[in-house]
């Protein structure tokens, strides 16, 4: 475990424990505590990474491998956006308000644990914590759909833990250690891999199930659609990415796919990635609910990351890391906007919405930015990550994969255009007449994230230097 980043785990945990006591008499204190904790953490991280001397030095003196730091930043950012949004979104009478913020902080803490750990079993522990908090968060508003989503999430992903444990025990049997470093050294050596790759494949399978890759994706749309509105942003933006996709990318780097020692697994991973891209995009085309469409889109985007991870070359890993961060930004924007829609218009059914642009311009235009970034339109950040992934595929000689990835990127654009036309553009409908724009506090996180999308796209060269440094550190 990276001790340098331990504080980012402990402080939210502390806050989470304090909140129920502090908020006993004044419920609002819970919001403030949670927001302050996350904001302070974020500022601290920004100081750590964005000091001029660090930037000038090409991020060379970033602690650890840099990947953790980046993801801790993403976790805190999304967490802050969600808590800030929830503070105004949540109704005042909500009984489980303190518990809600405690759970968010606990999940932030667990995610920090996930991204800073250096051991498979610890990874498993934190991922279980994350999963447990997620179920409770999904059902925050006690709606039928929320409970349904939570239950499906619970039962469809928990068997994955058993697979991970079996993988871990085989790893223990054949490798004798559970640390990442041992596996990396082992894979870099000439020793015949034996059951180690099988163990890794089992662990990978567990994480693939948890990240919602086709054909293990069935829980994803239900959980995202059913979840309490801000929680779906938290869940789609960061939680499932950290609990599944992060581990897949990490394993891909540890297994050194570019060496070809685990070629079968690499090929399987790439196939699953492409399958996810295709199924997610095609299924999203026909959705009628805004959140469900976003969920399918999320599956599709996760497919890109898994595809890149399966390829495993430094360029592809860089693309995967960057896409992971980008996915956190644009999916958070889109899901928070769906929450705004739900609050303002009372529904996320696209058949009932329409012409919302007239009454909710900010929501509409931030959605446009986010969806263009998702679809990979230059110069937004999503373009660069997809470009890196497709370039990596092309360079590796996988022309067919590259072409298909590009094609489904167009399909992404297509379904988002359909969505945008149905929900935001077009003639003013009854729903739009009676739906006012949400207040500034609800818009602030979304606008911040949109600005970040644009900024990451425009300042890509700086980010490229960082991502390159990260990719080199974790691969070499």
């Amino acid at each position: 475990m990276d001790k340098g980043l331990l504080a980012y785990l402990l402080i939210p945990l502390l806050s989470a424990v304090i909140i129920p006591f502090a908020a006993r008499s004044r419920a609002r204190l819970a919001d403030i505590l949670a927001n302050v904790t996350l904001l302070a953490g974020l500022l601290n991280l920004a100081w750590l990474a964005l000091r001029p001397s660090v930037i000038a030095g090409g991020f060379a003196d970033i602690p650890g491998d840099g990947f953790s730091l980046l993801l801790v930043g993403a976790v805190y950012l999304v967490g802050l956006c969600v808590t800030f949004f929830s503070a105004w979104f949540m109704e005042d009478g909500q009984a489980n308000r303190p518990a809600y913020y405690s759970l968010i902080l606990a999940s932030v803490s667990a995610m920090t644990g996930v991204v800073t750990t250096t051991d498979f079993f610890t990874l498993y522990v934190f991922i279980e914590v994350l999963a447990v908090t997620s179920f409770a968060l999904i059902t925050t508003d006690e709606s039928t759909k929320g409970i349904e989503g939570a239950l499906k999430y619970f039962f469809l992903t928990f068997p994955a833990s058993a697979l991970i444990i079996v993988g871990i025990s085989i790893l223990m049997l054949s490798l004798g250690s559970l640390s990442f470093e041992t596996l990396r050294i082992f894979m870099a050596s000439d020793v015949p891999p034996g059951p180690v790759t099988f163990a890794a494949a089992l662990i990978m399978l567990g994480f693939l199930i948890k990240s919602g890759v086709v054909p293990f994706h069935a829980w994803t749309p239900d959980a995202y659609q059913g979840a309490y509105a801000p929680v779906s942003a938290h869940l789609a933006g960061i939680v499932t990415k950290i609990s599944g996709v992060y581990a897949v990318v990490k394993l891909a780097t540890l297994l050194r796919f570019f060496d070809g020692r685990a070629a079968a697994l690499s090929e399987m991973l790439m196939f699953l990635g492409l399958l996810s891209i295709a199924v997610g995009a095609l299924a999203a085309l026909r959705q009628k609910d805004f959140k469900r469409m976003l969920a399918f889109s999320s599956i599709s985007q996760v497919g890109y990351i898994v595809l890149a991870a399966g390829l495993g070359t430094p360029l592809a890993i860089m693309g995967a890391i960057f896409h992971l961060v980008n996915h956190a930004t644009f999916k958070t924007v889109l899901f928070l906007n769906s929450a705004s829609l739900e609050k303002s218009a009372g529904t996320t059914d696209m058949e009932k919405l329409g012409g919302m642009e007239h009454s909710m311009p900010w929501t509409s235009w931030t959605s446009v930015i986010a969806l263009l970034s998702t679809a990979g339109v230059p110069p937004l950040s999503g373009f660069w990550s997809k470009l890196l992934i497709i370039l990596a595929l092309w360079e590796a000689g996988l022309r067919g994969y590259a072409a298909l990835a590009l094609l489904f990127s167009l399909v992404t654009l297509a379904y988002f255009m359909v969505m945008q036309r149905k929900v935001f553009f077009g003639k003013k409908t009854q729903a739009a007449e009676s739906a006012p724009e949400v207040g500034a506090p609800l818009l602030a996180p979304v606008v911040l994230m949109s600005a970040l999308i644009v900024a990451l796209g425009l300042l890509f060269p700086y980010f490229y230097a960082y991502a390159k440094m990260v990719a080199e550190r974790i691969l070499l």
Partner: protein, 101 residues
């Protein structure tokens, strides 16, 4: 056949029973029981692997953590069960199909 292979063969049967239960049962309680069976099987693999490699210390250290996790997970699952029972009046997971499309 070695003891280890026999053990793991029977653990495989346990996995099968657990997964079959999760696939076939409608009741959320029984789903949880299936989950429990699966995680028991997973625990057995850990201890068995530890015993095989004379690494029981590490295996037990892992197992204690796993048991703690299991308790919380089951508690969370049962909490969900109670909640869904309150809201829907039944504990039938097959009837939960309002989210579709």
């Amino acid at each position: 056949m070695s003891v280890f292979a026999m053990d793991w063969y029977l653990i495989g049967l346990l996995f099968f029973v657990g997964f079959y239960c999760m696939l076939a049962s409608r009741s959320i309680v029984r789903q949880l029981i299936g989950l429990e069976i699966i995680s028991k099987a997973a625990m057995l693999t850990v201890i068995s692997a530890g015993a095989l490699t004379a690494n029981l210390v590490l295996a037990q250290a892992l197992l204690i953590t796993m048991i703690v996790i299991e308790v919380v997970v089951v508690a969370a699952g049962l909490a969900l069960l109670v909640k869904t029972f309150r809201v829907n009046g039944n504990a039938d997971i097959w009837r939960l199909d309002s989210l579709k499309g």
